[in-house]
Symmetry: C2
Subunit: 137 residues, 2 copies
């Protein structure tokens, strides 16, 4: 297989730091397109697949399920996707994202208070933390 700008599944897996099986799994789930095949039936991936895989991974880390990631990836405006429905879905995702940010900020604030308390603690006192983790909206 001469080097022809495409990647085998193994090379892609290495480049994107995921397992081979994971890539086939994502293909099955429709998260990545089925790539063209070599005469012997081997998948040949374009370089951009690396970006897509990495996006999937990071979106997952942000708390999106695979089907939510699929929705994110499907959001684009072009000849085939009309503006109306795309806009609606994009707005929904945007709300999800903003809500996640709000929650994360609240958690972050709690953690920061925690860290501050640790820094300012009196030598003899315990690390008084539980209240800091409590909700209080």
């Amino acid at each position: 297989m001469s080097h022809d700008e495409t990647l085998t599944i193994g090379a892609l897996a290495g480049a994107a730091d995921v397992g081979r099986e994971t890539i086939r799994f994502y293909e099955n789930k429709g998260l990545i397109d089925a790539p063209p095949r070599s005469p012997a039936g081997y998948r040949r991936y374009p370089q951009e697949s690396v970006q897509r895989l990495r996006f999937i991974r990071r979106a997952q880390e942000l708390g999106f399920t695979l089907s939510e990631v699929a929705e994110l990836l499907a959001l684009r405006v072009d000849e085939v996707s009309a503006c109306g429905p795309v806009e609606v879905r994009a707005r929904e995702k945007l709300e999800q994202v903003d809500a996640k940010i709000v929650d994360l900020k609240r958690i972050g604030a709690s953690l920061r208070r925690l860290v501050d308390k640790c820094e300012a603690r009196q030598p003899t006192s315990d690390c008084p933390i539980l209240e800091e983790l409590d909700e209080r909206s």
Copy 2:
């Protein structure tokens, strides 16, 4: 069972909006302490358990696994052993949280641009979402 400031598992489940089974599951996993029991063996929870359960739920929604939640809750540790290692853990979580916020803001900005494009009715064939997380991989 006269009202004695404690909650049955069902009352707690109702107050914290989780299933009974989930509470027992968390107890098993060490996420909540085994509460005292009534003579008949019924769990009697203090009011604070509601806060703890809600914290667990919220932290989970933000992408923390149950064992990470356990870590967060364990920051409460006991006595002298506390502050040093606790502070380190808290800082690590804080960094994770801040990084997530940065990524989510990027996705949010991307979605906002997409919505704007929709409003301006300027079809494009690129995928604005995919481009957002490219930098810094």
